[in-house]
Symmetry: C3
Subunit: 301 residues, 3 copies
């Protein structure tokens, strides 16, 4: 099992720290309103891939400094949209472009731990699509301005948002958000169901999310979480097929330590002590789906 | 057409009775908090398969005694999780296990009649996933505690819940419910949209659901219901494909008696007298999908 | 680029007019409560197909006279359900029937512009399924009675509604609406999320929708809208696949004029002047999906 030292990874744009089994990923470009640049994408992708494999970590919490002008103000447009292209794109041809926002979405989405976004400031574009939608839980400041500006910029809604948003809250709301190109508050009827909790003050968001993360980290099984996330997003296309998959999962987990501990601790009304870890205790049956390779042939991403 | 005598089926754990065209399935393990055991699964599966084929039945209403300690307290963990295995599992190998909760879900889900769950007590685990999610309508006691404990027990969310829950209320809420492992009241924002109606007192739930069931049974076409349920859950993967399917359904039903009666009674502003039945009047075109066989080779389930 | 004269198209049942880049399609059978007949279907299909290809048009707004007895009272049942059959159906065999409601749904659904329905009166059957569900935005009169009568008429829920409704607002609500066969007000919990805005007075609905349409038409990119609609409804079946598609869209749009204008106008805080049009500036990559042919071989539809 790898126990990486996150302070030694050389991240330029984020700070990653462990709070016991909770990993906190903090955006570190406050002065630039945490705008999205390639370096930030690369740091986030590297961090989530490492956190996914680190058995010590049970919950990953993304946040920003609550005094920053924004949680994430979207793409850095100072040099226009051409910034979306990487050097690799130029070498391989622009049609091979793999959008950096989507690469971040995938890194978070594929993380087999519980993921939370603590949105303690305004968010625009990829600050919503890439930094919030792929997470399992979203905490938000009630005063946040949340922008979906794509149709008003002449670009696509990116970062897999056209896949995730309609599934998260239904097509009716997702279509309205993406085609209006508007800016909404968390209590907008259009955003109903997207946020797990909202808070009147910016400084409350992270502590609340951290307390929630600690509670989950202390009382949930790593293998159970990974199985359920996989069943949710990589499921069968019929309820019968899903029954076959979850039966397989049940048979696997019932043979592991965490299920015995879960039943015992529940019966004895005492705190859980789950110890199964992904590196050793996740069935070879996972993943049962074919993972699409989304890397450019020689991409540094 | 078969007219089974439900009192003669030898059910050990449920009571099935006909109230005209409404079948009431009552859980009968009140002293055991209606915990889920193999015998209960087998009774429910047998009953729903019979009710599906009984032309007299138009609505199936699942409920419990409102004085029971729970509507269903989940799996019986008195002997640990090993109880999930049947003798057949042991003979065939545990990897062939077909989860009993999912088998109940399928029996209800595949029932071509209108299905209702009248949740007049607390519900945990399979008491939510297997006894509520596959139903068309859910009535609930506002004071019910609804638990999704899977990640806190080291097992998977079962009974097809990872397929049904995100479709019923969206991925954002479904992921939060399943990964938090929490207990929620029916008025929780996370459960919004899941329940058709809620009632402050336990004793009100069943009578309200029964009145609703009777009204639907009196005024809906059996073939129309079966077609619409099939279109909803076994539809095409594009709106064009769905148009082809529902055109086929329209052409079929317009040639049947119920559509003529529907138009006439509506025009004459009199009660409907629908008489088409599934055993005679459901098109051979249904089912148009391939049903996945989920039985173990020699399973008694 | 075609610039059709909509007043010269010979529509019998609708009036189509241009308000700058906003096309208004007005149902013109007020005395017949805008009931659905073949002629209306044919007019709507022809109009939406033309509007889809007319580069001048950015938003299409469907409405009725707010003094009409209904926005659309559903199918004209004066001669029973047999009216669903066209002469073509009779020639080719009724099993080849292509439901006219679904053909209207498809014409609206396939329109690559922003589509709005301003529901300023009661709506039943196809008045909901065909005239509202395929639109991007729905504005409604708060006093409207919205009926889903299918199970009480002995027919299927048509016009692709069994595909669209569960995706728009989730299966829990969609199943309840379609299997109850009930009539609901826009503020019903079952309809939550379906309407973008509702208004206490009938006469307010159209002006509000028109103002909204004008604002969107002035400030959104035609190509961006077309791409995002395609990504939403013709997306991949995994988030990875969607990332590949939206990356392709991003690379395409970043090379076009509208994205440069979007970034510049945003930076200069001035109104947008988008000029890319579908006939010239939509990538050959669109459509990437295979369009299902839903025409009858010799159908006039």
């Amino acid at each position: 099992m790898s126990c990486p030292d996150y302070s030694a990874q050389g991240y330029q744009t984020i700070v990653v720290s462990l709070d016991g089994p909770v990993a906190v990923v903090k955006l570190d470009r406050s002065k630039q309103r945490n705008t999205f640049i390639d370096a930030l994408a690369l740091d986030l992708i590297a961090a989530y891939e490492l956190l996914d494999r680190d058995d010590r970590v049970r919950v990953v919490l993304l946040t920003a400094d609550h005094t920053a002008p924004a949680f994430c103000a979207g793409a850095d447009l100072s040099s226009g949209w051409d910034r979306v292209y990487t050097e690799e794109d130029e070498r391989q041809g622009r049609h091979t472009h793999k959008d950096a926002g989507g690469q971040v979405t995938l890194a978070i989405f594929r993380c087999r731990k519980i993921t939370i976004s603590a949105v303690n400031g305004h968010a625009a574009g990829v600050g919503v699509t890439g930094f919030q939608l792929p997470c399992d839980f979203r905490f938000v400041w009630a005063g946040a301005k949340l922008s979906f500006p794509f149709v008003r910029r002449g670009i696509v809604a990116e970062a897999g948002s056209t896949y995730l948003l309609p599934r998260l809250i239904g097509y009716s709301r997702a279509v309205a958000l993406l085609l209006s190109g508007g800016t909404y508050a968390p209590d907008s009827p259009l955003l109903q169901g997207l946020y797990y909790a909202s808070f009147p003050n910016r400084e409350e968001v992270f502590p609340a999310a951290l307390a929630f993360a600690r509670e989950l980290a202390a009382n949930t099984s790593q293998t159970s979480v990974a199985w359920i996330k996989a069943l949710l997003w990589r499921g069968a296309d019929s309820v019968e097929g899903q029954h076959l998959l979850d039966s397989r999962g049940m048979a696997d987990l019932v043979a592991r330590g965490d299920s015995a501990e879960g039943a015992r601790a529940f019966k004895e009304r005492r705190p859980f002590k789950f110890s199964d870890v992904l590196s050793k205790d996740l069935s070879d049956f996972v993943p049962w789906w074919t993972e699409l390779d989304v890397r450019q042939r020689t991409s540094k991403l």
